[in-house]
């Protein structure tokens, strides 16, 4: 989405007037710009200080030349360029379509018909380039824009004429390991056959959502590209024999683009006929949105400190969040704009990888997971924060440990990450949007002592705070125990306090409240006082909470250590009923609640069902299966599942508590009671030892297993993945 111009963007560049920013990065800025005659273009500029390096200027010129060679059918048509200007610029058509990686993130793996049509059209593009003796050398999903009329290949930052030594040297440093050819990875000549290899890899990604040689650090990828077989898991059967020859390690054995095109697609129909609905809708949105951009220029910042990200504030204040978010995600903004991806790896200085192990991805073959990334250990706030929170939000997984991290569920791509050190920020999600709670840096002093409480939407693409954002100065946002209980239907349910900050959870000088805030209407719906907590209580007010219909269902710990189930009316916050749960330990239920329209299900000891209407016991295994112990339950399609100590998975009828089936085979005796099982359509997933076991729902027997370090598991239905968190890793396994 285009963003407003900043105060120091130029008024004019060549014959163009910038209208909005499409993206920016180390090399330069891309604008949406217009001529005096109203022609709208994507205008790519190079910073004057970078252009002072003759090699960079040469590369800019080469990129322009290559873009002219590919032409407007298969590329972003070049309108005009001036590589000799003080700020060199290149004007191309504004392309109406997402980059392929965004398209896959949006739609999931693309249908075979789409992959075939896309592949055939890209063969045409490469054929035309190769016929002009130009090799792309950096073909990858982010460099292919998918329009309604066919793909367009962009970013010829390292394209070069075959055999041109000078240009080789200029472009030598760049390339993307995940889609490199083996010869390129080995430092050899990458010819037209190398582009065929990259194209096949790109089609594997389009068809499966994962690159052919997995994710990981550059060195690992370079090794795998050269020496291991591509991972074709998930590639439609009909495509395998077409793609395998293209992925031959020997460039001389690979077929030509004509051979490939003929086997991919017969040319029937229009390109748009082969696109999935979600992709078409995104194209339609882009075609329309560009006409709704109003020229806008941001004022100069009023105070210098606010623009100095190096100041490293101790708390994750709103300003810090915005700065961190903006810095970490400039590349994404540019990609979303759809025209050029200056900030991606292809051009100029690469974005600095975050220091430390948290950015590394492990090689996939050792782990059986779809993907696995390292996250910081999550034991620092174990007492206060529900350990290892995991949220499914839209197409993402958001983890809360010492960092708040947004990861694309399909690919494991770490979209953004923020440190939560020295901060008590909290998030909650209703599955579609993510809300954040924390201290505001609002200039107005909070009435409640300390900074006001900030409640905001979090932009899932960038991790930045987004509207609606509200600053509530009747609560102290600095208090450690301010808590986001849950959110549903646009309403945030928050526990927050008034009074002075202390560095423990509660103090006698504070008063506490539960309130409901309607984010969309911008209205405080109700506020109810909460009973005082003993100073020094280690846990927050709520162990877990969830909205079911008009019930706000919560588990709370009383000062005597007992756990209570408390149900409130979402309309006014009045307590409907409050029932102590004997035998339940607070530390074991700081996980998502299991409830349906009629009952709340509590495990971690006996398994019992409480009626939401009056809190009465619907059934209790203490009566029906005395002496047995259960982990946390999970509900799916009218069946309640829980792990029974010494036995394994047991399926219950949630209405009567009657047992539907018990796990067979004895292996379930090792099942971990602390992790709730995750239920798919064919299997239930439950942890045993260091393995995640899939137990067949129809057979009741363990079927296969994955190695895992996780101790929290949730289902991401859209990505068809079981997400695991724990042991410093976040990983995804197939959910079936």
């Amino acid at each position: 989405m285009p963003s407003p111009l900043t105060h120091d963007d130029p008024q004019e560049i060549g014959p163009y007037r910038p209208v909005a920013r499409l993206g920016s990065g180390g090399m330069g800025t891309v604008y949406l710009a217009r001529t005096a005659g109203g022609r709208t273009v994507a205008l790519k500029t190079m910073h004057a200080r970078i252009a002072s390096d003759p090699a960079c200027r040469t590369r800019f010129r080469l990129e322009t030349d290559a873009a002219r060679v590919v032409g407007e059918r298969y590329g972003a048509g070049v309108v005009d360029a001036d590589a000799r200007a003080e700020t060199p610029w290149l004007a191309t058509e504004y392309v109406l379509g997402p980059p392929l990686d965004d398209a896959v993130a949006l739609c999931g793996p693309l249908p075979e018909r789409t992959v075939r049509a896309l592949g055939a059209a890209l063969c045409g593009a490469l054929g035309q380039l190769h016929a002009s003796d130009v090799v792309h050398r950096d073909l990858k999903p982010s460099n292919v824009l998918v329009t309604a009329y066919g793909p367009k290949v962009i970013d010829f930052g390292i394209a070069r004429a075959a055999g041109d030594e000078h240009l080789t040297r200029v472009g030598a440093a760049v390339g993307t390991p995940a889609f490199m050819s083996p010869e390129q990875a080995g430092g050899q000549e990458h010819s037209a056959a190398g582009d065929v290899f990259a194209l096949a890899g790109l089609l594997v990604f389009a068809a499966t959502g994962h690159p052919p040689f997995g994710h990981g650090q550059a060195a690992d990828l370079l090794y795998r590209v050269q020496y291991t077989d591509p991972d074709l898991t998930g590639v439609p059967e009909g495509l395998v024999p077409v793609l395998v020859p293209c992925l031959d390690k020997n460039p001389f054995r690979r077929p030509t683009t004509d051979w490939l095109a003929a086997r991919l697609h017969d040319g029937a129909g229009e390109f748009a006929d082969h696109l999935p609905d979600a992709l078409l809708a995104d194209i339609a949105r882009r075609a329309t949105e560009v006409w709704q951009v109003a020229p806008q220029r941001l004022p100069a910042p009023a105070d210098v400190p606010g623009t100095a990200p190096t100041a490293a504030p101790a708390r994750w204040t709103r300003r810090r969040l915005l700065l961190t978010g903006a810095g970490a995600t400039a590349a994404l903004t540019a990609a979303g704009a759809g025209a050029w991806a200056v900030t991606r790896e292809a051009g100029g200085p690469k974005p600095q990888p975050a220091p430390g192990p948290s950015n590394s991805l492990l090689p996939r073959k050792q782990l059986d997971s779809i993907w696995q990334i390292q996250v910081r250990p999550d034991d620092l706030f174990a007492d206060v924060m529900p350990q290892g929170q995991l949220h499914v939000v839209d197409n993402m997984v958001v983890t809360v440990a010492t960092e708040l991290t947004g990861v694309v569920a399909q690919t494991g791509h770490r979209q953004w990450s923020m440190s939560l050190m020295d901060s008590d920020w909290e998030v909650a999600s209703d599955g579609r949007r993510l809300l954040g709670l924390g201290p505001s840096d609002d200039r107005r002093a909070g009435k409640a002592g300390g900074d006001p409480l900030l409640l905001a939407s979090v932009n899932l693409l960038t991790g930045e705070l987004a509207d609606p954002t509200v600053s509530l100065n009747e609560f102290n946002g600095e208090l450690v125990a301010d808590q986001m209980v849950c959110t549903a239907n646009g309403v945030a349910y928050v526990a927050a306090g008034r009074g002075k900050y202390v560095d423990t959870t509660f103090s006698a000088a504070q008063t506490w409240y539960l309130f409901a805030y309607d984010m969309d209407a911008g209205k405080l719906l109700w506020t109810k006082p909460l009973p005082a907590r003993r100073p020094g209580s280690v846990r927050l007010y709520f162990l877990s909470g969830s909205v079911v219909g008009r019930h706000l269902v919560a588990l709370q710990e009383a000062d005597d250590g007992t756990v209570h189930a408390v149900v409130r009316d979402t309309r006014d916050g009045t307590v409907r009923w409050d029932r102590p749960l004997d035998g339940v330990k607070a530390g074991r239920v700081q996980q998502p609640l299991t409830a349906d329209d009629h009952r709340l299900y509590v495990g971690a000891g006996r398994l019992r069902a409480l009626r939401l209407g009056d809190g009465g016991v619907a059934w209790d295994t203490g009566t029906t299966r005395p002496g047995r112990t259960y982990g946390l339950p999970a509900l799916k399609d009218g069946t309640l599942y829980a792990v029974e100590k010494g036995l394994g998975l047991v399926a219950f009828d949630p209405v009567s508590g009657r047992v539907k089936w018990e796990e067979k085979g004895g292996q379930g005796a090792r099942a971990d009671l602390n992790a709730a099982p995750v239920i798919g359509t064919e299997y239930a997933y439950s942890k045993r030892g260091s393995q995640l076991w899939a137990v067949g729902l129809s057979s009741g027997a363990p079927a296969h297993s994955y190695k895992t370090t996780g101790d929290r598991f949730i289902a991401h239905e859209n990505a068809k993945a079981v997400i695991a968190q724990g042991g410093g890793f976040l990983a995804a396994f197939p959910l079936r």
Partner: protein, 317 residues
């Protein structure tokens, strides 16, 4: 795979009309291309163009009366349409000053007239698209009737499809074509099948006439013509469209009932809602491709500059 040509070629700046259009100026605007494709043979109450202001900053959908039409009545209706509310209303934002040749304009959005959409799609639109269209248009008319207005100009050509829903243009086309009391059948620009019989005979347009015209327009979307045989319509639409098209206004359904019928039928599985046609799957692929093609062509279009002194459009907002 071929690129969609034909109707979108014209709509997007290709065809023969475009060559002449590009040299023409109307009020403060330079024409870029005609919006409608004459090859669809569906009458359009006004001449419509995509045009741009002299400074290049404002691209608009520009409407002019047909030659021989009454410019005064045209401007009266254009003036009236400035206040239209509703999700798919298309209020005019600028119009000709008194004494100037008549025109009116609204901000440009990529849009295909319904007849062009059918031509691009290669035939009648899918039922789920027709239902979504019907709900959005009926909701818009309901708001308008609540304002005490009658649209008097719903017809296939008046419906513009955009990515985020339909837009209803040609407000007051029936009133502009001839004053009340004058027979209106056969007048240029009025599509016979969507002209309610009581308005054709010269009656003053009333809200239930809009229901008739909406029924005819939905019939067009579902079959390709405004007076279909009963069997041509999808089964689920037959009864409700037929009731819209009864000669007796009193026997036509109320808009609320129409909305319920079109949106509520679970059998269609579409849960049509006014959230618009942007919902994935609601607009056919080739229609989206044509919208994207038009958008790209208009983005690329350059209007000549400096040929006449710029005069800002008179905005009456």
């Amino acid at each position: 795979m071929s690129v969609t040509e034909g109707a979108t070629g014209v709509a997007a700046g290709g065809g023969p009309d475009a060559a002449t259009a590009s040299r023409r100026r109307v009020g403060p605007y330079t024409l870029i291309t005609a919006l409608d494709d004459a090859r669809t043979k569906v009458p359009v109450p006004e001449r419509r163009y995509i045009a741009r202001s002299a400074d290049g900053q404002h691209t608009v959908l520009l409407s002019l009366p047909h030659p021989g039409g009454d410019p005064h009545r045209f401007l009266t209706e254009a003036e009236g349409s400035r206040y239209l509310l509703g999700p798919c209303a298309s209020p005019v934002t600028a119009l000709a000053a008194p004494g100037e040749p008549a025109w009116c304009a609204r901000p440009y959005l990529p849009a295909l007239p319904l007849p062009t959409a059918l031509a691009v799609h290669g035939g009648p639109l899918p039922e789920r698209t027709v239902r979504a269209l019907g709900v959005a248009l009926a909701e818009t008319l309901a708001v308008l009737h609540g304002q005490g207005l009658t649209f008097a100009g719903v017809s296939p050509a008046a419906v513009l499809l955009t990515a985020d829903g339909p837009r209803l243009s040609c407000f007051g086309a029936v009133r502009a074509a001839a004053p009340d009391g004058t027979p209106r059948s056969g007048l240029p620009g009025l599509e016979a099948g969507s002209l309610p019989p009581e308005q054709a005979s010269g009656g003053r347009p009333r809200p239930l006439g809009d229901v008739y015209a909406l029924g005819a327009t939905l019939a067009y979307a579902a079959t390709g013509h405004t007076t279909p045989e009963r069997d041509e319509l999808p089964a689920a639409l037959r009864t409700v469209v037929a009731r819209c098209l009864t000669r007796d206004p009193g026997a036509r359904p109320q808009l609320a009932e129409l909305i319920d019928t079109l949106a509520g039928d679970a059998a269609a599985g579409s849960a049509a809602d006014s959230a618009g046609l942007l919902v994935p799957g609601r607009l056919p692929g080739r229609v989206i491709a044509a919208l994207a093609h038009q958008s790209a062509a208009v983005l690329t279009a350059e209007t000549s500059v400096g040929t006449a002194p710029a005069r800002p459009p008179r905005s009456r907002n």
